[in-house]
């Protein structure tokens, strides 16, 4: 029934992806210095550099180069790393599952924790339970994820010895060991975001509880919980949905830092090394991938919005 709407949204999605990838591409074209020079390193001479520029197509207009790069990218050729002289695709391919796993686990943690707590706090607004939660929330929210990571490493890794800091287990070795090792870093990412999620949902529930339709529901004889779950929850989730979409993007960004704390060799670690090495093809590829992820998440949220809120029409 909504095929037209979805088709329209998909069209917008593709255009956005094109723009975002073009901007990312462009950003790395204006880097001071010359890709050919950085690739040649100390062996650079004027002639060699010129020849390499020809070979790499650096003398052609930006749009042509973008088109070529995009075509290659879509075909799976994501360029070659300057530092390691190996295809970026291979380098990234093995790291991507790690970052994806971190993102998914953290996001699940956030959902599982923040929805019940947010509802609970909102329902009991002003009571001691809500006040205690709010205070804890406010403090947890202020802890930077990487510092939380350090604290967790110290307390649970070094003092309690529940896990071995730095003892990363690759998913090719043992998948369960891999997942277990990811739990502490995911907690470090999830907790502050979770606190924000609770705050958002609490605020949203409180606001919705004051609305007129709640009064109507009570006047029909609804129980408190029926009011909360049948009437309020769906309305309260509408503003929180945007927050969740942003959270996924934030988790990916947060994982870049947390990977450093727990020495996990994921995309983030590679991104940081590549930035320090000025290994632009790798940096560019990772940025484009993350940007793509953000755009796609927003696309999904848009579709979800329409499912949850009948007022949104497909204009």
């Amino acid at each position: 029934m909504n095929i037209k709407y979805i088709a329209k949204k998909t069209g917008t999605l593709i255009i956005t992806l094109l723009i975002v990838s073009f901007l990312s591409f462009l950003a790395f074209q204006i880097i001071p210095g010359d890709a050919a020079l950085s690739k040649l390193g100390t062996a650079a001479t004027a002639e060699k550099a010129e020849a390499l520029r020809q070979e790499m197509g650096l003398n052609q207009p930006v749009l042509v180069r973008y088109g070529r790069w995009l075509a290659d990218f879509v075909r799976g050729d994501m360029g070659t790393s300057y530092s390691y002289s190996m295809p970026v695709r291979e380098m990234i391919g093995s790291k991507l599952p790690i970052t994806l796993a971190i993102t998914m686990i953290s996001f699940l943690m956030i959902l599982i924790l923040s929805v019940p707590l947010g509802l609970l706090a909102g329902k009991h607004e002003g009571k001691s339970l809500d006040r205690a939660l709010t205070v804890v929330n406010q403090i947890v929210m202020s802890v930077p994820g990487f510092f939380l990571g350090i604290l967790i490493t110290y307390l649970f890794g070094l003092v309690l010895k529940w896990f071995v800091p730095g003892g990363y287990i690759s998913y090719t070795e043992s998948f369960s060991g891999f997942l277990i090792y990811l739990i502490p870093p995911c907690i470090a990412i999830a907790l502050p975001k979770c606190a924000m999620g609770v705050k958002m949902l609490r605020g949203s529930v409180i606001q919705e509880l004051q609305s007129d339709y709640v009064r109507t529901a009570i006047s029909r004889g609804c129980r408190e919980n029926t009011v909360l779950y049948r009437h309020v929850l769906r309305n309260a989730l509408i503003p929180v949905l945007t927050f969740w979409a942003m959270t996924i993007a934030d988790i990916v960004a947060g994982s870049i830092i947390i990977e450093q704390v727990f020495t996990i060799p994921g995309l983030g670690t590679m991104l940081i090394t590549s930035i320090s090495n000025r290994d632009y093809p790798v940096v560019q590829c990772i940025i484009v991938l993350i940007a793509g992820l953000v755009v796609i998440v927003n696309f999904i949220v848009d579709l979800l919005y329409r499912r949850i809120d009948p007022r949104i029409t497909g204009q």
Partner: protein
């Protein structure tokens, strides 16, 4: 049927409690239309909300009784109150747009009371809801059943509210300024509908309004309120024809009518 005795309500929003309703008493008989008239801040809405148990947390009932069939609702358990709401007493509000849940289809909201208070099956509920929507003079109930509130006009939304309030055939319906947000022509239709319902279903209506003209035409009896105090009460005729209190007189003389005018007209030829 319904009797309120010496009801006093205060708000505790500020350090000094604010009395919004003081020593309010009234009775209501089955099948009558009782009007409560007053300007903003007269406490008329607070009284209705207290009746339904819908007061804000910062409001407190200081004293008094609300007797329903002889039983004091203020001392009743939450469960007992709940079984009355939507079943014996129901309510419609001023803003039909915000009073309906925006994310639920209209049909579901009309039949919600049935779901709560009866053990009717899905089909039976739907049948009853459609019947009620028809009684509320909604065109095309079958189609409207699946629509959402934002797809309806203001007048239709208020009809949906009325249908949902009457679906269990309650003894009393409280109508809090039900036509204030509507255009004159729509207002007239809704008021006619209320009158028809009162006549056909014998539903008593507690009609709260600031509009004396409407109260005069619709109600059997009325109460005039001012700043939380009942100024005067009685049947419509005596209240409007021979008001005893100054405030009532002032209120009556302020209504814009077509019998008086405030200035001499200028004529252009």
């Amino acid at each position: 049927m319904l009797e309120i005795k010496h009801l006093t309500i205060s708000f505790y929003d500020s350090p000094v409690p604010d009395v919004v309703l003081s020593d309010f008493s009234m009775t209501m008989e089955p099948g009558e239309i009782l009007g409560i008239v007053g300007e903003s801040g007269s406490g008329k809405t607070m009284m209705a909300l207290a009746l339904m148990g819908l007061l804000k947390k910062t409001a407190r009932i200081e004293s008094g009784e609300i007797l329903w069939m002889g039983k004091d609702l203020l001392r009743a358990s939450e469960e007992e109150l709940r079984s009355l709401r939507g079943n014996e007493i129901s309510m419609i509000f001023q803003e039909p747009m915000t009073s309906l849940n925006p994310v639920l289809p209209v049909g579901m909201q009309v039949e919600e009371s049935l779901k709560i208070h009866t053990d009717m099956g899905k089909e039976e509920r739907k049948k009853k809801a459609l019947e009620m929507m028809k009684a509320a003079e909604l065109p095309n109930p079958g189609e409207l059943y699946h629509k959402y509130p934002h797809q309806l006009s203001g007048g239709m939304r208020q009809r949906v509210m009325i249908a949902s309030a009457l679906v269990l055939n309650p003894r009393v319906m409280i109508a809090d300024e039900p036509t204030t947000a509507l255009d004159v022509t729509i207002q007239a239709e809704i008021l006619k509908l209320l009158q028809k319902i009162n006549r056909e279903k014998k539903t008593a209506i507690l009609f709260i309004s600031h509009d004396l003209g409407v109260v005069r035409k619709l109600c059997d009896r009325a109460l005039v309120m001012h700043q939380g105090v009942t100024v005067e009460q009685g049947n419509i005729e005596s209240l409007f024809e021979s008001p005893k209190e100054d405030y009532t007189r002032k209120l009556l003389s302020s209504i814009p009518t077509r019998e008086t005018r405030l200035r001499r007209r200028k004529l252009h030829e």
